[in-house]
Symmetry: D2
């Protein structure tokens, strides 16, 4: 079961073509990631600040199927998955909010890959217990 | 009674000093303005697109009293007021979400002035009926 | 020969982890794309406004190898390539500015795929003469 | 003599009304401030990171006279002025780039007020020697 995050598209996210600027879709996905971490009890201020351990995004990709407009209600479905001891991937699907998340094809879908590193040496570190726990919620046994 | 809009501060809004980048406070205020218009039945996609009538911001100002951090829950209290036949001002107070909006001093406060114009000639036009109605909700008699 | 676009990383692009927020790397790449079009004589205001023909990005991806900091001078090397009659891909490499663009590995690399469509029907259209000409500058014979 | 900073308006700065999103004018002004500091030899990475001393913006305001479009070339004229031992104000005028900075009225003008503080206690601190030197360049005797 994916985590679901909903909100309304805002004017600041749009561009002169009248739709959401492409890179802002990735910001929306990251917001959903933050919301999912917060729901699991992660302290966002500490997690995303400049502490000893960092979990930077090393790869991101996004496909756009339909444009998003100011005022549109959207739902982001998010599913993270561990890749190895120090990294995980999060996949996102952006749906029109009033459609639910059962439709054939989302408005957009995206993916981010994250690696746990020591901020100073920038060497890989094992995923923190907090992240392992978060990832476990989404594995085989499912979330509840 | 001000309109109240709440949400969580996101990572994308912060800067390398560890707090919300100053100009992003104005984006947050504008979001509250969009939410207030939407609640009053305004179609945001049409209102903010490139139609015949535009309502650009001609002045904005903001005072910062306390820094905002990623993960902070904030509430924006918003009150619009007509200035004359073609313009209005919106004032905003940003409060820490868990404090309610009854405290002594907000984290920040801001103000935007908007003028209704013909998009082509850029000449002033009377406020649309939709905006007049919205403004009336906040006048003497109050909102309910 | 790729088109080269250089500038300094700005505070607004950074996040509370102290480095450029991941999605902002794609904005930087898009800036390079705009600069390349402008150099070829394309009117950016018309090209990116809401005219009859639009050239939206349908896919984007980015890999991050090294973090970017406020004040860093970067160079973006850009190479577009036609895919078929209605679409093209642009690849980007972000280099530290003082290294030139001859080094082993960039700080980041990205790719955007663009499709020419009719804005109303959202059906594919052949690439405009302007875009075909721009793409031709980068093909076999090379740019000079 | 103001410091002058020029660049081209980018697509990411625009909104669905077809012009630069209001708060992005303040980002442009801040960019000019960063460029002025860099020209005076300030290390931007250190200055804007989370060190012991911070120089946050405590007030900002902006007036818009003409809209800015994607592709527009603009020049920002910037003049800082010390207010007291721990604070200074920077004023900005945004001009159309091909007009020079001699015209009657800019496209927009803005102002930011900055206070030097201890990041931990958030108490006022005297302006650093680096900032005093920078401010002195713009005082009575003028810049050269």
């Amino acid at each position: 079961m994916p985590f679901s995050y909903g909100r309304t598209i805002r004017f600041a996210e749009t561009d002169a073509a009248g739709v959401v600027y492409f890179a802002n879709c990735l910001c929306l996905c990251h917001e959903a990631y933050e919301a999912a971490l917060a729901e699991a009890g992660v302290n966002l201020k500490l997690f995303f600040s400049s502490g000893a351990i960092a979990v930077p995004i090393v790869h991101a990709e996004v496909d756009f199927y339909q444009p998003l407009f100011c005022g549109d209600r959207v739902e982001v479905g998010l599913t993270p998955q561990a890749l190895d001891q120090s990294s995980f991937v999060v996949s996102y699907q952006i749906w029109r909010g009033d459609e639910g998340i059962e439709r054939d094809r989302p408005l957009a879908q995206a993916l981010t890959r994250h690696v746990c590193i020591d901020r100073t040496s920038r060497r890989r570190r094992p995923l923190t217990a907090e992240l392992q726990q978060w990832l476990a919620q989404f594995s085989a046994a499912g979330r509840d």
